[in-house]
Amino acid sequence: MKMITAIVKPFKLDDVREAVADIGIQGITVTEVKGFGRQRGHTELYRGAEYVVDFLPKAKIELAVTDELAEQVIEAIANTARTGKIGDGKIFVTDLVEAIRIRTGETGSEAV
C-alpha cells in the first residue's frame, strides 16, 4: 500500500476530491497547511508598515491506497490540480506498512 500526500491549491480541493472519487477512492483526509515554496508570498501595507505574507494557504490531501491504484490516483490528482502556474503544489508518495479500519478491525488493502 502507498500513502499519497498531495499539497494543492485550496480551491482545487473539491475538484481533486471528485476526481479521486471517480477512480473509486472512498476515503481522504485533508489538512489546512501553510506552504513556503518557489511561489513567494506578497507584501502588503498595513497602516503604512510592511506586512509580508510569506506563507500561502494550501490544502494537504492524504490518501492511503493499494499499490495497484497508486499510479492512477497520482495521475488524477496531478491532472486535476494543475493550473500551470507557480504554486500548483507537489505529490509525495511513501510506503504504507499497515492500515487498519478501526470500526471493523479489517487490515491491509481491505482497510484503505
Binding site: 501553510k34 502588503e44 501595507l45 498595513y46 497602516r47 503604512g48 508598515a49 510592511e50 506586512y51
Partner: protein, 430 residues
C-alpha cells in the same frame, strides 16, 4: 395656578430639561467607554485581547471612584465647600453628599442655577474616563496590568483634574470666564491631548513591542486581530461624541442654546465624515489600498479636531477642519513609526497630534481666540501632563516594573495577566 406659580413651574421645567439633557449626553459619553474598548480590542492581537478588555473596564471603574474621591474636588473646588480636603474628609459621611440644589434655590436663582449638581458630576466623570482610555490603547500588548491601574489612579485622581481645573475649573487658563484666553470648548486639549501626553510618556519609557521594528530599521506591521470590533468601536465613539460635544454646551433650554446644541451635533458629525473620507483617500493614494484602520482613525481625528470648537464653524468649515485632521492622522501615524514610537492603535496621533490641530483651528473660526493663548494652553497642558506622567511611569518602572517579561509578551498578556484567552476556541496563526 397663579402667575408666580406658573413662572416658578417654568423655571423648574427648564431646570429639569437641562438636567435631563445633561444626563442623556453623559450617558452617551459613558458609552464611549465601550467604543474605546472595542476599538482597542480590535486593533491588538488575539493573544492580548482579554487583557485590553480588562484594562478598559477596569480603568473606567477606577476613574469613576478616583474622580469621586478627589478628582472632582480638585477640578471644581467650589463644588464642595472646602474643596478637595473637605471632600476627602467626607468619605466617612458618604463622599459626594447626595444633596443637590433645592427647588427654592433654583427658583430664586431665576434660572441661573440650571441643572443638577450631580448631573454635572456624572458628565464630568465620564470625561476623565475618556482621557484615561486614550492611554490604554497606546501602551497595549506589553504593559503590566497592575502598573497600568496604578497609573490610572494617579492620572484620574490628580494629573487630569489639575489641568482640568486650570481651564474648566476657572483656573488661570480660563481668562475672563472663558471668553478670552485659552479656548477649548469640549476638550481637544483638556481631555484628548491630555490623554495623549500621558500615553506618550508611557510609551517612551515602555519601548516598542517585540518585533515591531527590525534591526535594519524596517517597520513591521502587526495587524489587528478583529477589525469588525475596531469599526464598531469607532461608530460607538462617533455616537458618544454627540454627547461629548453636545453636552458641553451645558444648557439646551432656550432657543439660542437649543440651536447651539443642534449646530454642535451637525458639526461633530460633519467633521468625523470629513476626517474619514480624507484619511481613506490619503491611504489609498499613499499606500495603494483603502486601509480601513486608517479610515477609522480618520473619523476619530475629525472628531478630536472639532472638539475644541464645534460651535463657531459653519458645517462646511467643520467638515474641512475634520478633513485636515484626517490627513494629519495618517501622516502622524507613519511618522511616529519612523521615530520608533510604537502606538498599536494610533492613540497619540489621533488624540495628541490632532488634538493640537483642533486647538489651533479654533483661531480660524472663533474671533475671540488668540493664537498666543492657544499655544500657551497647549504647551502648559502638555508640559504638565507629560512631565507628571513621566515621573509616575518612571517611579512605577523602577519599583514594580511596567513591562511584562519577554516570554509573557510572546505568549500574550492574556494568559499571563488574566489567566484566560479571549478566543480560546479559535486557532490563531503564529
Amino acid at each position: 395656578m397663579e402667575d408666580i406659580q406658573v413662572a416658578a413651574r417654568v423655571t423648574e421645567l427648564a431646570y429639569a430639561l437641562d438636567t435631563f439633557y445633561f444626563l442623556v449626553m453623559g450617558a452617551l459619553v459613558m458609552w464611549m467607554a465601550a467604543g474605546f474598548t472595542m476599538l482597542e480590542a480590535g486593533l491588538v492581537r488575539a493573544k492580548n485581547t482579554a487583557e485590553i478588555l480588562t484594562k478598559n473596564v477596569g480603568l473606567y471603574s477606577i476613574a469613576c471612584v478616583m474622580y469621586m474621591l478627589c478628582g472632582y474636588g480638585i477640578m471644581y473646588p467650589g463644588a464642595f465647600e472646602g474643596g478637595v480636603f473637605q471632600s476627602l474628609a467626607s468619605i466617612g459621611s458618604g463622599i459626594l453628599t447626595s444633596s443637590d440644589n433645592t427647588a427654592a434655590d433654583v427658583i430664586a436663582s431665576g434660572g441661573d442655577t440650571y441643572y443638577s449638581g450631580l448631573s454635572d458630576f456624572f458628565f464630568q466623570v465620564v470625561f476623565v474616563a475618556t482621557a484615561m482610555s486614550i492611554v490604554s490603547g497606546a501602551v497595549a500588548e506589553r504593559m503590566k496590568l497592575w502598573s497600568f491601574f496604578a497609573f490610572t489612579i494617579v492620572l484620574t485622581g490628580f494629573i487630569y483634574p489639575v489641568q482640568g481645573f486650570w481651564k474648566w475649573g476657572n483656573g488661570w487658563l480660563n481668562v475672563g470666564n472663558g471668553t478670552v484666553g485659552f479656548l477649548d470648548f469640549a476638550g481637544s486639549g483638556v481631555v484628548h491631548m491630555c490623554g495623549a501626553a500621558a500615553a506618550l510618556a508611557g510609551v517612551l519609557l515602555l519601548g516598542a513591542r517585540k518585533g515591531k521594528y527590525g534591526k535594519s530599521g524596517q517597520v513591521n506591521a502587526i495587524p489587528g486581530s478583529n477589525l469588525p470590533l475596531a469599526a464598531l468601536g469607532t461608530l460607538v465613539l462617533w455616537l458618544g461624541w454627540f454627547g461629548f460635544n453636545g453636552g458641553s454646551q451645558l444648557v439646551v433650554s432656550d432657543v439660542e442654546n437649543a440651536n447651539a446644541v443642534a449646530l454642535i451635533f451637525v458639526n461633530t458629525n460633519m467633521a468625523a465624515a470629513g476626517g474619514l473620507i480624507v484619511a481613506l483617500l490619503t491611504a489609498r493614494f499613499w499606500f495603494g489600498k483603502a486601509d480601513l484602520t486608517m479610515a477609522l482613525n480618520g473619523a476619530l481625528a475629525g472628531l478630536v479636531a472639532i472638539t475644541a470648537e464645534p460651535l463657531t464653524p459653519a458645517p462646511g468649515v467643520a467638515t474641512l477642519i475634520g478633513a485636515v485632521g484626517g490627513l494629519l492622522v495618517v501622516a502622524s501615524i507613519v511618522t511616529l513609526d519612523k521615530l520608533r514610537i510604537d502606538d498599536p492603535v494610533g492613540a497619540i496621533s489621533v488624540h495628541g497630534v490632532v488634538g493640537i490641530w483642533g486647538l489651533l483651528a479654533v483661531c480660524i473660526t472663533n474671533p475671540d481666540a488668540s493664537l498666543k493663548w492657544q499655544l500657551i494652553g497647549i504647551v502648559s497642558i502638555f508640559a504638565w501632563v507629560f512631565s507628571a506622567s513621566l515621573l509616575v511611569w518612571f517611579a512605577l518602572k523602577k519599583t514594580v516594573g511596567i513591562r511584562v517579561s519577554e516570554e509573557e509578551e510572546y505568549e500574550g498578556v492574556d494568559i499571563g495577566e488574566c489567566g484566560l484567552e479571549a478566543y480560546p476556541e479559535f486557532t490563531s496563526a503564529e
